[in-house]
């Protein structure tokens, strides 16, 4: 047996999250990821964790991610100059998807910005980009802004899935933030103060992220795991975190976003880039406008290829780097892809049966249309596939897999 595609880099120094010992003591298969020691899965494996999250809920230790505190009277104005989305649209208790762009409209990172108080924000970035982002932000720091790295002070947990709301409501002292994506607020579990936000990386209609003191995180995690178990809410490792985000069509830095690729090549950038003329200057604005115009004009000059969702219509190999063909001509290549488990729905909810299907994200010629039939080459074989709008749709509190004609059952 020989590995064809690895697990990312290896590092000499690996850091531990506050939940590390819990993971190790509960069957977590620990691996090195972006400089951190984290579970790829627990005893029941990636598929079981993916399916449990979609049917009941999943707990994620995401304390490895970078968390920067931004405060001060000029915090909003400075963030508005550094980020592609407009923090002026936020208010305390709201969050937004955003990107950190360089002058050329290439992503340093994609990120989430949470406004906690009038002059207090948290910017959450990818673990792999933490040092680069922090350097960039410090180099461009203005007056009236205090930027602090809280990555090792604040832990971050995610509770995602149909029963996440029920679980948190049973444990928290204050009411949950109002329903609706990206809403948040301060809360308490026992004596532990925390900030809670309706955000996440799984596509689940009900999803939460918790920010809390590092030293309290293990006890809170254990409480969530213990109280979640009777509901079917389970701890989830990095493996299912990746299959869940892929099934939800969400980008991963290093795969869909890369330092060389225009930001607007990723469709989710539309949610994280605000080019409103009243906003004024921000890092990368001119380049992003050129990219947006290229896409709008249909000439695609600056953005010759962009990312699409590709569903396999039979069982077969769907791997990053594979060539995607249409009518015998190269259309692009896969940026992410694997077999993804899905529940067979019984009425409005997941039933008892599940199946696997190959799903991927692909960088394809920008003029590609949804519905285009394609072939995905892997070695000597070609898997039939189709460019689709998305792989899932919200159904009540569940995320339902969309089945495609001719698709694998």
């Amino acid at each position: 047996m020989g590995a064809l595609g690895g697990e990312g880099g290896t590092f000499c120094m690996t850091a531990q999250t506050p939940i590390h010992d819990w993971h190790a003591g509960h069957g977590g298969k620990l691996v090195d990821f972006a400089g951190w020691r984290l579970p790829v899965s627990y005893g029941d494996g990636v598929i079981a964790e993916h399916l449990a999250t979609r049917k009941h809920g999943g707990l994620f230790d995401i304390s490895h991610m970078g968390r920067f505190s931004v405060r001060g009277p000029q915090a909003q104005a400075w963030l508005a100059s550094m980020l592609t989305n407009d923090p002026g649209k936020l208010s305390p208790g709201r969050a937004q998807y955003t990107l950190i762009s360089d002058q050329a409209g290439r992503p340093l990172d994609d990120a989430f910005l949470y406004q906690q108080k009038p002059e207090q924000y948290l910017l959450v970035v990818n673990a792999s980009n933490h040092d680069k982002d922090l350097r960039w932000l410090q180099e461009h720091l203005g007056t009236g802004v205090e930027l602090q790295d809280h990555s090792a002070r604040l832990a971050m947990l995610a509770v995602q899935g149909p029963d996440s709301e029920k679980l948190l409501a049973s444990l928290l002292a204050e009411p949950l933030p109002p329903a609706g994506r990206n809403h948040g607020g301060f809360n308490r579990m026992g004596a532990v103060e925390m900030y809670l936000s309706r955000t996440g990386y799984t596509g689940e209609p009900l999803s939460f992220e918790l920010f809390l003191p590092w030293e309290e995180a293990e006890a809170v995690w254990d409480k969530l795991a213990t109280s979640g178990a009777p509901l079917g809410v389970v701890p989830v490792g990095l493996g299912a975190r990746d299959t869940l985000r892929l099934e939800a069509g969400l980008p991963l830095y290093g795969h869909e976003y890369t330092p060389e690729r225009p930001i607007m090549a990723m469709p989710t950038a539309k949610m994280g880039v605000d080019l409103n003329p009243e906003r004024g200057y921000f890092q990368g604005r001119a380049a992003l406008e050129t990219q947006a115009q290229a896409l709008a004009s249909g000439q695609y000059g600056e953005v010759p290829r962009r990312v699409f969702a590709v569903a396999g219509l039979a069982k077969g190999m769907m791997r990053e780097g594979s060539e995607v063909m249409a009518g015998g001509k190269p259309l692009g290549e896969l940026t992410s892809g694997t077999m993804i488990p899905a529940w067979q729905f019984a009425g409005d909810a997941p039933g008892q049966e599940h199946y696997n299907r190959p799903l991927g994200l692909a960088l394809l010629d920008s003029g590609t249309q949804v519905g285009q039939e394609v072939e995905i080459n892997y070695r000597k074989r070609a898997l039939p596939g189709r460019v689709v709008k998305s792989f899932t749709r919200p159904k009540g509190r569940y995320l339902e897999p969309i089945q495609f004609d001719g698709g694998a059952k």
């Binding site: 047996m1 020989g2 590995a3 064809l4 595609g5 690895g6 697990e7 298969k29 790829v40 899965s41 494996g45 990636v46 598929i47 493996g239 299912a240 299959t243 069982k315 077969g316 190999m317 791997r319 694997t338 077999m339 488990p341 696997n356 190959p358 892997y378 070695r379 074989r381």
Partner: protein, 132 residues
């Protein structure tokens, strides 16, 4: 987990974590327990065509797991006589029973002399212990 489950006696092993068992004129091939554990949940197996010719330690098929994709090498040169088509719908059989129901391929027309290039269970377990 017992040593017997990790590497049963009476069959041959490659250093790439395939096993092969002689059954009359056929050689049954599969992945070892170490291999299936490293791969994690196996989600797809791309089996070779029946009658395909393979060389010893040449590429034979591909297994995909939620973590990675991996080539499986032929422990012996020969011709693919049979493939385990049950894996098409249930690739998890490799995780559940890698030395039994999770077999991959049966080869015919192999050269017994090539067995000399393989390891017995004791040698394979020793290799594992050395951290290969």
């Amino acid at each position: 987990m017992s040593e017997a489950k990790k590497a049963p006696e009476g069959i041959y092993y490659t250093k790439e974590h395939e096993w092969v068992k002689l059954e009359g004129d056929l050689a049954v091939v599969g992945l070892t327990d170490f291999a299936q554990d490293q791969l994690g949940d196996i989600t797809y197996v791309e089996l070779p065509e029946v009658e395909a010719e393979v060389e010893q330690m040449g590429e034979m098929c591909v297994v995909e797991s939620v973590k990675t994709a991996a080539d499986v090498y032929a422990p012996l040169g020969g011709v693919v006589a049979e493939v385990n088509s049950a894996l098409e719908d249930a690739p998890e059989l490799i995780n559940q029973d890698c030395y039994g129901a999770g077999w991959l391929v049966k080869l015919s027309g192999f050269d017994q002399a090539e067995l000399d290039n393989l390891m017995d269970a004791a040698a394979y377990v020793q290799l594992m212990a050395q951290g290969e």
